[in-house]
């Protein structure tokens, strides 16, 4: 707070001191010294005053023949230098000269606290129609006059696409210019979308980094306008082609409200403006009507060149010996799409062969059109002695401005050739830079005979089987990892392991009883041993115990704990008792009795499973 007070006191003190000094300067300037009659131009009046917060509007004296148009625009700036504040006020007057002649404009006057201050005067020449203004110094970044015909719909800001012409032929040059117009203060501009030009070959003419604003009056309103982009378009197809729209995002600044003004930091010039509002604007797409090239009068050899061109030709040597390469240089220069020009027609005498042809382009994308030149270098090799003719060299093209076909032509050149004629036309050709380096060399010799050649066949990776095979490795890794993870999880979870063992008990019991069935032919002891062991293993799996530790007398209790019914437990006990009787009591069994005992054992296991499940279900 204290710093604020000090700052305000300092400003007031400085302002008073400056005012006391009475420094008011007023300057009048014109943007143009010579303009055409009817062409608007700007006069700027700048008033510099120390210590004043606001200044009145200056008056400008205009002579007869010069009229003011629109309302003057003003801008004010504040500066604090060495503790002294100065205010600079600039008024822009847009005027127009009605009659040719030399006019003295001014002075501009301003009255500050009772004192009247006057500016200098400026002299402007108004030129009659057809007169050219004095040439300006070369300034390639300065665009031409910005169109001011009606079309903005009195919008505060907009983009306009000017297409010239909107009707042409295939290959004809069309200039698309995008202008940005605004009558509000704009803080920043960013390209939101660049236009697309389907069906056109595009050559960039201008895309200024810093927009050069000019003042134009449109529909009675004053706009600041600047060229945003200009391209040359060359249609490749006939029909109605669309020149795309260009979109910009503008940050529009708003003047601060009165109540906000005094809350600002006086040292921060940016705070005098409120934050910008983002606005998106786009130009309208424009249709260009492209006609096909006329068939009438189309010269033979016409290869699509459209524009206005001149030809220049030269040989690098005029006298050579047979089989010495000479370079014919053909330069096509003019306006139009130079890149699309095909090689000119070069008729040659029988004794000359045409070999390599290369070309390069120099494009001068001017502000309003594409100019350029394309140079063709053709290697010619004379094979017969004599005065051989090269040409006449011609280039047929369509002139869209004249609306007709034209054939550019130059007279034939003469090449004096000495020496003896070459017999074969199939000599190794020496034509390009690489070939010159290879001169004296030949192809490497052919491969020897073969018993068998490699035959057509798709490479192995085309067959899906190869990729399925390739996936086996990763699949094995995945399965292995899952198995390992599951085993580790089970090992750490005893309950899960027990449950797994119990659920697998019936499966294992079936396997073991099948083994017992196989041993039914063996002796009684062998059969009953396998059978009783199978049953004990089953009970051990079911109760998660060690089979070796089971005592037959505990079986009934174990089965009862598992939830088996009394009858099933007794059946199981009976089978085990019968087995013990045979094994240790010397009892013998007939074949039928063995089958019956096995059947009892199977029924006992099934019965126990069913009764355990039934009880678990309850």
């Amino acid at each position: 707070m204290r710093q604020w007070i000090i700052a305000i006191v300092l400003i007031l003190f400085s302002a008073c001191a400056a005012f006391a000094a009475g420094q008011v300067n007023i300057t009048l300037s014109s943007e143009n010294n010579a303009v055409e009659a009817g062409q608007p131009f700007n006069l700027n009046v700048q008033v510099d005053a120390g210590g004043l917060r606001s200044l009145p509007r200056p008056d400008l004296t205009l002579p007869g023949g010069i009229a003011l148009i629109g309302t003057p625009l003003s801008s004010q700036s504040f500066q604090l230098i060495n503790g002294r504040m100065s205010v600079a006020l600039t008024y822009g007057f847009q005027v127009v000269g009605r009659k040719p002649g030399k006019y003295s404009i001014g002075p501009a006057t301003v009255e500050v606290r009772g004192s009247k201050y006057s500016s200098n005067t400026v002299t402007v020449q108004i030129l009659g129609s057809g007169q050219q203004s004095a040439p300006l110094p070369a300034a390639p970044a300065v665009p031409d006059a910005i169109p001011s015909q009606s079309g903005g719909g009195k919008k505060p800001l907009f983009i306009r696409a000017i297409i010239d012409p909107t009707e042409t032929v295939v290959g004809g040059q069309v200039i698309a210019s995008y202008y940005f117009y605004t009558r509000v203060s704009v803080g920043g501009l960013t390209m939101e979308s660049i236009p697309d030009f389907p069906g056109f070959v595009v050559e960039e003419l201008a895309s200024p980094q810093n927009l050069d604003f000019q003042t134009v009056v449109m529909d009675g309103m004053q706009y600041k306008a600047a060229l945003v982009k200009r391209v040359a378009l060359f249609p490749v197809n006939s029909g109605k082609l669309t020149v795309g729209s260009l979109a910009l995002r503008a940050s529009v600044k708003k003047a601060p409200r009165r109540d906000q003004f005094f809350g600002m930091d006086p040292f921060d010039i940016d705070s005098f403006f409120s934050p910008g509002q983002q606005v998106s604007i786009a130009s309208e797409p424009v249709i260009v009507n492209v006609r096909p090239l006329p068939n009438e009068g189309r010269p033979s050899g016409f290869a699509g060149a459209v524009g206005s061109f001149q030809l220049g030709v030269a040989l690098d040597q005029n006298a050579v010996t047979v089989n010495t390469p000479v370079t014919l240089k053909v330069v096509v220069e003019g306006k139009g799409n130079v890149r699309q020009i095909s090689s000119p027609i070069v008729p040659l005498d029988n004794g000359i062969s045409k070999y390599s042809e290369s070309s390069n382009e120099e494009i001068n994308a001017g502000f309003k059109e594409v100019l350029g030149k394309k140079t063709f270098e053709i290697i010619l090799v004379p094979q017969q002695p004599g005065n051989l003719k090269v040409g006449p060299i011609t280039l047929p093209y369509f002139d869209p401005w004249a609306g007709k076909y034209v054939v550019a032509s130059v007279d034939p050149l003469t090449l004096a050739v000495s020496g003896q004629a070459v017999q074969s036309a199939k000599e190794p050709r020496v034509i390009s830079k690489e070939a010159v380096m290879l001169a004296g060399q030949d192809l490497r010799y052919i491969r020897p005979d073969a018993q068998k050649l490699r035959m057509n066949g798709s490479p192995w990776f085309v067959h899906s089987l190869s990729w399925i095979f390739a996936l086996l490795g990763p699949l094995a890794v995945i399965i292995s990892a899952i198995h390992k993870w599951r085993a580790a999880r089970l090992a750490s979870d005893m309950t899960a392991l027990r449950r797994l063992r119990a659920s697998a008990a019936i499966k294992n019991a079936k396997k073991r009883l099948a083994l017992a069935a196989k041993s039914i032919q063996a002796d009684d002891a062998g059969f009953t041993t396998i059978l009783s062991e199978s049953l004990m293993e089953y009970i051990a799996d079911k109760s998660d115990r060690n089979a070796a530790g089971l005592i037959e007398s505990d079986i009934r209790k174990i089965l009862s704990d598992l939830g088996a019914g009394q009858r099933e437990s007794e059946d199981m006990q009976a089978v085990l008792d019968e087995c013990s009787g045979v094994r240790f009591g010397g009892k013998s069994l007939s074949r039928e009795q063995r089958h019956e005992l096995l059947s009892h054992a199977e029924n006992a296991v099934i019965g126990i499973e069913q009764s355990v499940k039934k009880r678990a279900g309850k």
């Binding site: 197809n237 699509g304 042809e357 290879l438 490497r444 052919i446 490699r454 990776f461 390739a470 890794v477």
Partner: protein, 257 residues
């Protein structure tokens, strides 16, 4: 059992027919060699073309066919032959030399490469191996990586073999990561891009797939290009400078992958 026997019979028949075709193509090839030695280049080329039509896709055949075509003044077929041979045997020095020799005698100059270093390295690598080799190395590394992973899964922690397997896994994983990109690009090129060589002496490339559309530019025999689309008897091509347009399909030959 019966189906297995039928399958085996078919395989045997296929192998024997393929062997017979290989022998007949070899006979044409050998005959072409004799004619070439006798400087009858056009006749030699006819025999080599016969072997190609019979299904032979051998780098030796393409090498000799290219020589015969060049000597017979058919620069387009020469470029096509050498390029097709290089697609099968990219490290064949003789084929590479002859290809460069033929290219130097074409009319249209290829613009100098403005590639970045990375692109240059990639192009060098891509030109050094075939798509089969890229895919083969990829699968071999993948196989070794799987073995190393299985060893890690089944070995006890802290053992020497597990440590070795872990390091092998890291190294092979990095290798497969680096190698997978060029392999994918090479396979994409194999499956989805088609290149051709112009055989006609001169062709005007047009902006529409017909013979009356505006001429965009002119190309000459031996120039290579990418074929991006086919429509009827016309193909849309793109030459190395980036220019594109339509030419008749009869004017070029596709480079054998």
């Amino acid at each position: 059992m019966r189906s297995v026997a039928v399958t085996l019979l078919f395989i045997l028949l296929f192998c024997s027919s393929s062997f017979a075709a290989g022998e007949s193509a070899a006979a044409l090839y050998n005959q072409g060699n004799k004619l070439y030695a006798a400087s009858q280049y056009d006749e030699a080329l006819r025999h080599y073309e016969g072997a190609y039509t019979a299904g032979a896709r051998d780098p030796r055949l393409f090498a000799n066919m290219g020589n015969a075509a060049y000597k017979g003044g058919k620069i387009g077929i020469a470029v096509w032959s050498f390029k097709s041979g290089l697609a099968l045997a990219p490290r064949d020095e003789d084929l590479e030399f002859n290809y460069g020799f033929a290219i130097a005698h074409t009319m249209d100059e290829t613009p100098p490469s403005m590639d970045l270093l990375v692109t240059k390295i990639w192009k060098g690598l891509a030109g050094y191996f075939t798509a089969s080799e890229f895919a083969g190395v990829f699968l071999a590394v993948l196989f070794l990586l799987c073995i190393a992973a299985l060893v890690i899964i089944h070995s006890d922690p802290g053992t020497r073999i597990r440590t070795v397997a872990v390091w092998a896994c890291v190294a092979l994983g990095l290798m497969i990561l680096v190698w997978s990109f060029p392999t994918a690009v090479k396979l994409y090129e194999y499956f989805y891009t088609t290149s051709g060589v112009l055989l006609d002496h001169e062709i005007q490339v047009r902006s529409t797939p017909d013979d009356i559309g505006p001429v965009v530019f002119t190309i000459h025999e031996g120039i290579e290009f990418e074929i991006t689309e086919k429509r009827g008897n016309y193909a849309h091509i793109r030459i190395p400078t980036g220019y594109a347009g339509w030419i008749p399909t009869s004017s070029y030959r596709i480079i054998s992958p």
